[in-house]
């Protein structure tokens, strides 16, 4: 019951350094390995091959569109989850996490049986084909990426609390004005990092996409799918495109992340 051994440890325990170093190595070394394995001389040619260019373009377009949809749908969802006092809201909060814990392949199958030709919803949409289209790619990406935005944003909204909003109301601001001029600016940093995470997750999405949208060149074959395809036949090509994905991901974080952090203070 003594508090002594708790109080002594104010510094960083040396023991933590070992697993921390291993963890860091686990993150960094594979990328180093990728760079080491690549054949830099043939890199430009491989990256500019028609298949690669098509996949990269498709990836950027679909990930961007998915991110916008995450914002337009997930943003309001986060606000409702954080502010609504409806009884079932705690259950909903858990449900939103589902795509995070579900294997993406399972998510893709689920989407297929919802929106496919004979699916729950798909059978009521005659003449509309969703699976194996670019739209399916976007839907799969939104499915897996949206929780990143919702969870981060909802946490920020709950941390910010409602006190500023109450003050704004006493100053005569109607709900929409309060939302626009107080709520949104307060969570802007969290919104920024949520969008970056969503974009990165959408860019890397593989399992749900290949199950729900297939791998049609120029239509549904995004960069991760192209990498997977080449890994079977052309390992150097796969490595080159993998590096491209790494570069794009790092670029996104480098461009967007500091802005998100800057707003914090």
């Amino acid at each position: 019951m003594s508090t002594r051994d708790r109080r002594v440890r104010t510094g960083l325990p040396v023991l933590l350094w070992v697993p921390a170093a291993v963890a860091l190595a686990l993150v960094v070394l594979p990328v180093v390995g990728l760079v080491a394995r690549s054949d830099l001389s043939s890199l430009p040619a491989r990256i500019s091959s028609p298949g690669a260019v098509a996949a990269l373009g498709l990836s950027l377009r679909t990930a961007a569109l998915s991110t916008v949809l995450c914002l337009l749908l997930g943003g309001p969802l986060a606000v409702v989850l954080a502010r609504s006092r409806v009884p079932g809201v705690r259950v909903l909060r858990a449900v939103v996490l589902l795509p995070l814990v579900l294997p993406p392949v399972v998510g893709g199958l689920a989407l297929l049986y919802l929106l496919g030709r004979g699916g729950l919803l798909g059978s009521h949409l005659p003449g509309v084909r969703i699976p194996y289209t670019t739209a399916a790619v976007v839907i799969a990406q939104v499915f897996v990426a949206m929780p990143f935005l919702v969870v981060g944003l909802e946490g920020a909204l709950r941390t910010a609390g409602e006190r500023y909003e109450a003050v704004a109301a006493t100053l005569g601001a109607r709900p929409w004005t309060v939302f626009r001029r107080v709520t949104v600016p307060l969570v802007l940093p969290a919104l920024g990092s949520g969008l970056v995470l969503s974009f990165a997750r959408a860019l890397g999405e593989f399992g749900a996409t290949i199950t729900f949208a297939g791998s049609l060149e120029g239509v549904t074959r995004t960069l991760p799918l192209q990498v997977y395809l080449l890994a079977e036949t052309d390992v150097d090509g796969a490595v080159a495109l993998s590096l491209l994905l790494v570069v794009v991901a790092v670029a996104v974080i480098a461009v967007a992340r500091p802005r998100a952090l800057r707003g914090q203070r």
Partner: protein, 365 residues
């Protein structure tokens, strides 16, 4: 009568708030009460954040809440401003934009709103902070800006919820002065919730004491605090209070005695306030020093925590206002001085320990 008129009944688990509060237009009323007495509940009802079980709230004859007819104006349409313990300035806006928020939200154009904001910032002495973000303001500065923001929205009723509680001791008197000046200058109807009797003395014309959800005392500030009728008021008012007229050297009592302190408002009704702990007791005339020395006799000795409170009474033929003054001594000091009821004593208090406040107009009567 315009101003605030509220009858409120809210049943809670532990108590029922059941009060009628009237505040005349331009009047400042303080609500004192222990924790859990219902002060916050009352403010929430007035601000429109809580719907009472029964009640009717009007400000300047406009019905804000009426449970009988189902009227419940939302906070945005009540015209009830709030200055809370924390300034709660919007962190992403400059001080100027914070103050301009109210006018902008109610439809003023940007230029006009900024003009109004600059006026109110100047009014609270914060004009030079206009372009600063809240993170670059001290607690006292932020609270000034928050006051300007609340006033810029032109509220029909201003609620002050422990507005100085989060400030450090140095900032409190200054801000209290700012609030006093601005409330007087604008004739704003205001309700002040506070723990601190000094706030009430400095700002309020009238005091309500709330205990267990009921108003147990109601009257002019000084009358209520100097003649406490409940244990809470007595404890809150555990202060020595001498009334008189402000003087450049402190305060002049009606019999002409000078209570030395920082300058009071010359020629205006004022009260000198000091704590019993700052009063020393001597049985022989005290050493000459910049001290106030009042002759008295011991009226009673009361245990008070780990000190003994010595209650004084006027000497025969001496000024009557000495009666009721208190000094807190250690039991050892009481023993050394051999104090007992009837012992003639000299009460001594340093000028620096005495605060002189203008008395509210009603409090002077």
């Amino acid at each position: 009568m315009s101003g605030l008129s509220a009858r409120v009944r809210v049943a809670r688990d532990r108590f029922t708030l059941d009060v009628a509060v009237e505040v005349a237009a331009g009047e400042v009323v303080a609500v004192l009460g222990p924790n859990g007495s219902g002060k916050s509940t009352l403010l929430d009802v007035l601000a429109g954040l809580l719907l009472p079980d029964h009640g009717r709230v009007t400000v300047d004859d406009r019905v804000l809440t009426d449970t009988a007819t189902g009227v419940r104006l939302p906070p945005a349409r009540r015209g009830v401003g709030l200055l809370a313990q924390d300034a709660l300035l919007f962190p992403h806006l400059t001080a100027l934009a914070n103050v301009a928020f109210g006018p902008r939200a109610t439809g003023a154009r940007r230029g006009r709103a900024d003009e109004v904001a600059r006026h109110w910032l100047a009014e609270v002495g914060a004009a030079e902070f206009a372009d600063r973000k809240p993170a670059a303001l001290s607690g006292g500065q932020a609270q000034r800006v928050a006051l300007a923001r609340a006033l810029a929205a032109e509220p029909g009723l201003l609620l002050l919820d422990e507005p100085f509680a989060a400030l450090d001791v140095d900032a409190t008197p200054v801000l209290r002065g700012v609030v006093r000046r601005v409330l007087a200058a604008t004739g704003r109807t205001a309700l002040l919730v506070t723990h601190d009797p000094l706030d009430a003395l400095a700002l309020a014309d009238r005091v309500l004491v709330l205990t267990d959800g009921r108003v147990v005392e109601d009257g002019p500030t000084r009358a209520v605090l100097s003649r406490p009728r409940t244990a809470f008021t007595a404890r809150v008012a555990g202060l020595n209070l001498v009334s008189g007229t402000g003087d450049p050297a402190g305060l002049r009592t009606p019999d002409g005695t000078l209570v030395a302190a920082a300058a009071g408002p010359p020629g205006e009704p004022a009260v000198a306030v000091f704590r019993p702990a700052d009063v020393a007791v001597y049985t022989s005339p005290a050493q000459g020093s910049p001290r106030n020395v009042f002759a008295a006799v011991v009226a009673a000795l009361e245990p008070h925590g780990d000190t003994v409170r010595v209650r004084a009474a006027a000497t025969p033929g001496g000024p009557a206002w000495v009666t009721g003054l208190a000094a807190d001594l250690t039991p050892a000091a009481v023993a050394d001085l051999a104090l007992e009821p009837g012992t003639p004593v000299h009460l001594s208090v340093k000028a620096a320990a005495v605060a002189v406040h203008p008395a509210g107009t009603a409090a002077a009567g």
